[in-house]
Amino acid sequence: MEKKKDVILPSYWYVISKNGILFIFLLLCILLSIITPGFLSWANILNVLRQSSIIGIMAIGTTFVIIGGGFDISVGSILVLTAAMCVGLQYKVHWVIAILIVLIIGALIGLINGFLAAKIHIPAIIATLGTMTIVRGLAYLYTGGYPLYVEAPDFAYIGTGYLGPIPFPVVLLVIMVALWQFVLEKTRFGRYACALGGNKEAARLSGVKVDYFHILTFVVGGLMAAMSGVVYASRLLSVTPLAGQGYELDAIASTVIGGTSVSGGEGSVVRTLVGVLLLTIIANVFNLMGIHIYVQYVVKGAIILSAVGFDTYSKFGQ
């Protein structure tokens, strides 16, 4: 009896639920390359990656927030405000400075989100619902409701340029994923984020400054949303205050499809990227096959439900 208790199952459900998304993704790619001619062409692959870059960068931040046990639906609004300011500020300052300013603004909004959630104890989804509305309003105020344009070839490089054969936004995405995956795995911040998302009270009683690190996850969320705003602005060189609506949902969907636990504590930036690619590919294939966009919503929703359902149901079983 005693022995049996000590030796424990490595739980292959756990392994599958952690990496299942990769298998599904690879399977889908193989399947699609067979039925859709042109899917595996270099041009199409780059296209998919480029389309993924904005949501991908945003979803990195979302991953940190969700791992830390939070939720952030304000990132779509942060994208539009920072994109608009990034364009608007260039009338007055150099584009590099404009970028720096909006990154700081994104981080500051994240700081406010984190403060509201961790210190004032507003449930994160409600706190960020509030800031989402406020920030969207600020975007309207800043733009006056009209699109802003800028002509800046240097600035445009971020969103449209190429580094060798590879689009720059894709390079940026890959670097960011690598960087933040490293932060998640190899720094105290990453470890503490997992710990406090897994069990905040236990983390606190282990001497972790939980509020500080909880807030920090939101700061990363805001910062990465601002970075995606910069890429957005640079790609289009024009921003309307309507932009970025629903982006937060795509970012959250990618994160949970990537296997990050909805209740926090575990997750991976790389797998979030796979989640982003999966959603983009589905959209891409539907376009290639000429299926109406309305169908895409239905399919996307079904995928989110199955991914999250798998996670929650397998946990409930234990």
């Binding site: 030796v7 424990i8 739980s11 720094t187 470890r191 710990a195 236990a202 009683l205 972790v208």
Partner: protein, 467 residues
């Protein structure tokens, strides 16, 4: 009216859970109303007339008294609408019968603890309970409220309802019970009519020899340290910690015991900065501490292994080694980057030192057995090299073998100079591991024993303190 008594950990609560089907039993049979029954859930037992009133109440705080009582047996009019009138009539009938009244449309969260207990009793009666189990119903009641409760219990008895009354407060038992069953270490010691025994006899039955056989104390004459490492003065935090002062020496195991609700856990949380002090001071190495968080406590050299290891001590979904290195992660970093090899080295050391059994350092903590989880919860503090290590019920829910291992770890740590505050409601184990024992009752220290005191002495002190 049957009373079930026994020390903490004697198996009272487990027995109840087996009876109503909250736990699955390994073997044995249960007969209810002369029929063999097989309850698979408390809800099923409840429907069959067997109600349990737990220590923590199971009411829905946002609902009114009357809606709580009738939850699950609502009456409907022919239109399918709730028949409030009929419910109210029934409510009046039953309260009149029992001779007490509650505000029927008050929300339950606005009631006192005692009144909530009454609501639970009413609920059981409305659900046609024939047998009511009460698990320490007086735990948080005042004298007056207890008197009131006893009157109602007498009333129920006269109506032919059987009551199983679980407690470790012997005074109550002699007031109201007809028969007493004593449990110890999961076994029935005896069932006797109340009039045939006195208090002393029952205490002897409760205490027994229990753990002493399993563990021969290693507390030989040790070189006593004279260095006071921890000094606590007039600690206060309402309602559970009223006024606590004591000192503890380096290398000493200071046991603190008392009944559930005496303030032990609350005291440990205060010492660790998990809750805010309302008064008093904590002095370590002659330095007065000013802390606002567990982080500060750790920096001052205080560590704590909390009572509820799943809720407060461990992050179950994380790998074992991550739990072990969590409190001291800064020791495992190089310019801010975590070094896995350092982490693994420390984990290996901890695994060896505490004999932690797992399938590997990366095993998810959730899948470790209770005893091994507890060892992880202890080992995470070793790297912090605390001066004072507080352990709150460190052997709760683990098997005898693991318990003995924990005792050995405690002794070993103490020998290396750590001051250990060993908090436990199991008197036998406190006596085994401690150099000195403090008895806590109602948020105050009511007695102190040196190593070598008998279990009976300590038990008597504890029970005396509790009315």
């Amino acid at each position: 009216m049957h009373a079930l008594v026994g020390e903490n950990g004697a198996g009272k609560s487990t027995l109840i859970k087996l009876v109503v089907g909250a736990y699955k039993r390994d073997s044995g049979e249960i007969y209810f109303d002369e029929q063999k029954v097989e309850f698979t859930s408390p809800a099923q037992a409840f429907q069959n007339g067997l109600s349990v009133i737990y220590q923590e109440n199971s009411l829905i705080p946002q609902l009114t008294v009357i809606h709580n009582i009738f939850l699950g047996v609502e009456y409907f009019t022919s239109l399918g609408i709730l028949d409030e009138n009929k419910i109210f009539q029934q409510y009046l009938a039953i309260t009149k019968q029992l001779g007490f009244e509650l505000p029927p449309y008050e929300k339950v969260r606005n009631l006192g603890v005692a009144e909530q207990k009454l609501v639970e009793i009413l609920k059981a009666l409305i659900h046609k309970a024939k047998f009511i189990i009460m698990d320490e119903p007086t735990a948080s009641l005042s004298e007056n409220e207890i008197e009131h409760l006893f009157r109602i219990i007498a009333e129920l008895k006269s109506k032919g309802i059987s009551i199983l009354y679980i407690t470790h407060l012997l005074g109550e038992v002699f007031k109201i019970a007809d028969r007493i069953t004593v449990l110890r270490d999961g076994k029935k010691i005896n069932t006797v009519p109340v009039r045939d025994v006195d208090r002393d006899k029952v205490i002897t039955m409760m205490v027994g020899e229990s753990l002493k056989n399993a563990y021969t104390s290693t507390c030989l004459e040790r070189k006593k340290s004279e260095k006071v490492v921890l000094k606590v003065e007039n600690l206060k935090r309402k309602p559970r910690v009223k006024d606590i002062s004591f000192i503890a020496f380096a290398g000493e195991v200071l046991g603190i015991t008392g009944l559930r609700g005496a303030g032990k856990t609350e005291l440990s949380r205060l010492l660790f900065g998990a809750d805010k002090l309302e008064g008093g001071s904590i002095i370590i190495d002659q330095k007065q501490l000013r802390f606002t968080s567990p982080r500060d406590a750790v920096n001052y050299g205080i560590s704590m292994v909390p009572e509820d290891r799943k809720k407060d001590a461990l992050i179950l979904m994380l790998e074992m080694y991550k739990n072990i290195t969590l409190p001291t992660l800064e020791q495992f970093t190089n310019r801010g980057i975590i070094s896995s090899s350092k982490e693994f080295a420390a984990t290996r050391k901890a695994v060896e030192k505490l004999n932690i059994k797992s399938s590997g350092m990366k095993q998810i903590t959730k899948y470790l057995s209770g005893g091994n989880q507890q060892k992880v919860a202890i080992s995470k503090w070793l790297q912090a090299e605390p001066k004072v290590l507080i352990m709150d019920e460190p052997t709760q829910g683990i098997d005898v073998k693991a318990k003995i291992e924990v005792y050995n770890i405690v002794r070993k740590l103490a020998e290396s100079g750590v001051c250990i505050i060993f908090i436990s409601s199991e008197v036998s184990e406190v006596l085994i591991v401690s150099d000195r024992v403090l008895v806590l009752s109602n948020g105050e220290i009511i007695g102190e024993f040196k190593n070598g005191a008998s279990q009976e002495e300590v038990m008597r002190m504890i029970l005396k303190g509790s009315k």
